[in-house]
């Protein structure tokens, strides 16, 4: 297993070398595509939480972008900073203890971090909305579901109560909840239905961007399949862009166009779904793929990423993954790697393995290969 991983990583490193060589030969590739196309661009976002026991570095220079109609998957383990990123985009981080240290969140050309709360209120729910993991706590238990949907509509559109209700009933039909159940309370619905109601609320104002935070993690697999299919369908019908936060590569494969691998508050690798699934390059990404039991392959033991995610109060100085990485060199512990491009449309990776100027790239690669 380790050998196989070794090969994958080395192969990827070789390819990079080629690309860099090509670039040096004068083939100019624009790393950042035209910014105006992006619906959302998160640039170098850094968020800290100041607590009594110290500073929690939740997000450390996280960047990704999203074009209209696209779905990007933020993949990572517990504590990687996925949900904090989502809350930061929604402007829902309490300051204090939260503290935006640097970065920009550019939505439709506007930096959301600079707009006043009053303007944010108009964006939240209308332009950007969010689905949470637990459908039970996301709904108000003492309010009929129809009122919870029409409330969002009333908040954002100037419509009468009656019109709002009619629209809300339409939304219920869209998520295939029988309209005759509109006046029932959340506890009368099953988990899958509740999550569909949450989706109906999120989509009620036809937002341009939907952030889904582990929307199917709490659901059974057959119900998950139903909900995912519905989300895909709605996204296509409403032409909504989506940020899918998940730890499940299967869900990513089924719903996303682009993938960003998040670890310790930064994106270690990102690219199109094909880039990541067919050519995983960062040792962490490769390790994650190896750690999932594969349905089509039989392995005696799963690949094991040793150790734990670093403590966000005490992050390593260099690459955050270095303490767990079996390829780590001195430089990995000492310096943060920069972003390197890999072949493929948008495939980028933050790893020392792929950095370096043209001359020493070969040497670096030689060195890696000896391992």
């Amino acid at each position: 297993m380790n050998d196989m991983l070794n090969e994958t990583v080395n192969a990827a490193a070789e390819e990079t070398a080629e690309v860099i060589a090509e670039e040096a030969a004068g083939i100019n590739t624009e790393i950042v595509s035209d910014e105006s196309e992006n619906l959302l661009e998160v640039k170098d976002l850094t968020v800290e939480f100041h607590t009594d026991s110290g500073i929690v570095q939740a997000i450390n220079g996280l960047s990704f972008s999203l074009k209209a109609g696209e779905t990007v998957g933020l993949v990572g383990e517990t504590g990687a900073g996925k949900t904090t990123t989502a809350l930061a985009i929604m402007g829902l981080i309490n300051c204090p203890p939260g503290f935006y240290k640097s970065g920009e969140i550019i939505y439709k050309g506007k930096d959301l971090m600079k707009i006043p709360e009053s303007e944010y209120l108009k964006i939240r729910g209308r332009e950007i909305s969010m689905i949470f993991q637990d459908p039970m706590t996301a709904l108000n238990p003492v309010m009929p579901v129809i009122d919870q949907i029409s409330e969002v509509i009333k908040n954002h559109k100037h419509v009468s109560a009656k019109e709002a209700r009619e629209e809300a009933i339409e939304m219920l039909k869209v998520v295939r909840i029988p309209p005759e159940r509109a006046d029932e309370y959340p506890h009368q619905f099953s988990g899958g239905m509740r999550q569909r109601i949450v989706i109906a609320i999120a989509l009620a104002c036809n937002p341009a961007l939907l952030i889904a935070d582990e929307p199917t993690t709490a659901l059974d697999v057959t119900i998950q399949a139903q909900v995912l299919e519905m989300m895909r369908e709605l996204r296509d019908n409403f032409n909504t862009s989506m940020i899918m936060i998940t730890h499940d590569f299967g869900v990513v494969a089924e719903t996303c166009d682009k993938v960003a691998i998040v670890y310790a508050g930064e994106v270690l690798e990102s690219g199109t779904k094909r880039d990541i699934f067919k050519n995983p390059s960062h040792p962490y990404t490769v390790g994650l793929f190896g750690a999932i039991p594969n349905l089509n392959e039989d392995t005696e033991f799963l690949y094991q990423i040793e150790g734990l995610m670093p403590d966000p109060m005490d992050l390593p100085k260099g690459c955050p993954f270095a303490p767990r990485c079996s390829y780590a060199k001195d430089i990995c512990h000492a310096e943060k790697p920069c972003v390197s491009r890999l072949p493929g449309e948008e495939h980028v990776v933050k790893c020392h393995k792929y950095t370096g100027s043209d001359e020493n790239q070969e040497i670096v690669n030689e060195e890696w290969r000896d391992e």
Partner: protein
């Protein structure tokens, strides 16, 4: 010894009384398990898989039926015999948070079963045993006096495993041991359990809702739906040729990481119906796309198709 299978469950039933009638949590389940093997118990929430596991671990009494361990019905055990049985059957729980007593250090948690079962003569022996087990499950010695809340999920789960291993059991019921863990930690724990099995020949009953974990971990699979067994087969056979429409839907619902071969999925309609007072018909009938008259008339029985393949369906798929 050899005429009896290691573990045989016969017509096991567990009904819970509710104000609306009896809840059929486990309804007439039978299966056998050979020593040293791993059987996967799969199904969605509420299918009764945990209830079944808890009955085998003698945490719950059965309403009816027998659980034969090497030919002896352990449901009839009590007192001294039951206490001795505890050494042989242990359980690992799902939630690494609630499964450890927050007021006990790692040492006390692991030492407790040894003290209860009087396995060691002296304090020194207990201590040696605790350190031996900690090493087995990959817990560094420096965690010995640490409280559970100071540990991460993966290490807590290791403590839970250590506690189960302390008595050197034969049969271990693993009740969703990795569902609450992150992917990389899940791999660590699964590898650990597998390594321990190879080393000590444990027999596992592995309860999970994650089919890919079962595929990786178990040799035989039982698929449960609303308290009943719908299909039983060796793992490869089941994944290659599911014969029950529910198994087929369940397998098809797993999101695949293979982005080149996008499979045609069968999305099961509807949701699990209530297990309270179920009518005498196939319990899957409402969600089944192949449903026929016969399915509504009475409940199907488990029938043998091929050597080890059992299905409870009137019209099994090819």
């Amino acid at each position: 010894m050899s005429e009896h299978p290691y573990l045989e469950v016969r017509h096991l039933k567990k009904y819970f009384m509710t104000p609306n009638g009896p809840l059929h949590a486990v309804d007439d389940v039978s299966f056998t398990l050979e020593k040293g093997r791993t059987i996967g118990l799969v199904g969605e929430s509420g299918c009764g898989k945990s209830t079944l596991g808890h009955m085998i671990a003698r945490l719950l009494d059965a309403t009816d039926g027998e659980i034969l361990l090497e030919g002896e019905d352990i449901l009839k055990y009590n007192g001294r015999k039951l206490k001795d049985l505890r050494r042989r059957i242990q359980i690992i729980f799902q939630d690494p948070f609630s499964s450890l007593n927050p007021r006990k250090t790692v040492y006390n948690t692991i030492a407790e079963p040894i003290i209860i079962q009087k396995m060691c003569k002296s304090k020194k022996e207990v201590e040696d045993r605790v350190f031996e087990i900690m090493e087995l499950v990959g817990l560094a010695e420096r965690y010995v006096n640490v409280y559970p809340h100071e540990l991460d999920g993966g290490r807590r789960q290791r403590v839970g495993i250590a506690r189960a291993l302390a008595l050197d059991p034969e049969l271990i019921v693993c009740d969703e041991p990795v569902s609450a863990l992150d992917v990389s930690i899940q791999a660590q724990i699964l590898n650990l359990l597998k390594r321990l099995q190879q080393q000590f020949g444990y027999t596992y009953i592995f309860i999970t809702h994650d089919l890919s974990v079962v595929k990786h971990f178990a040799q035989d699979v039982l698929v449960m739906y609303l308290g009943q067994l719908v299909e039983q087969a060796p793992v490869k056979e089941l994944f290659a040729h599911p014969r029950h429409p529910y198994t087929q839907g369940l397998l098809s619902a797993i999101p695949s990481t293979d982005i080149d071969n996008v499979k045609d999925r069968i999305i099961l309609k509807g949701e699990i119906t209530s297990p309270i007072n179920p009518p005498d018909e196939c319990r899957f009938a409402d969600r089944c796309e192949y449903v026929s008259e016969a399915c509504r008339k009475k409940a199907p029985q488990l029938q043998r198709l091929g050597d080890d393949h059992l299905v409870s369906c009137f019209a099994p798929l090819d």
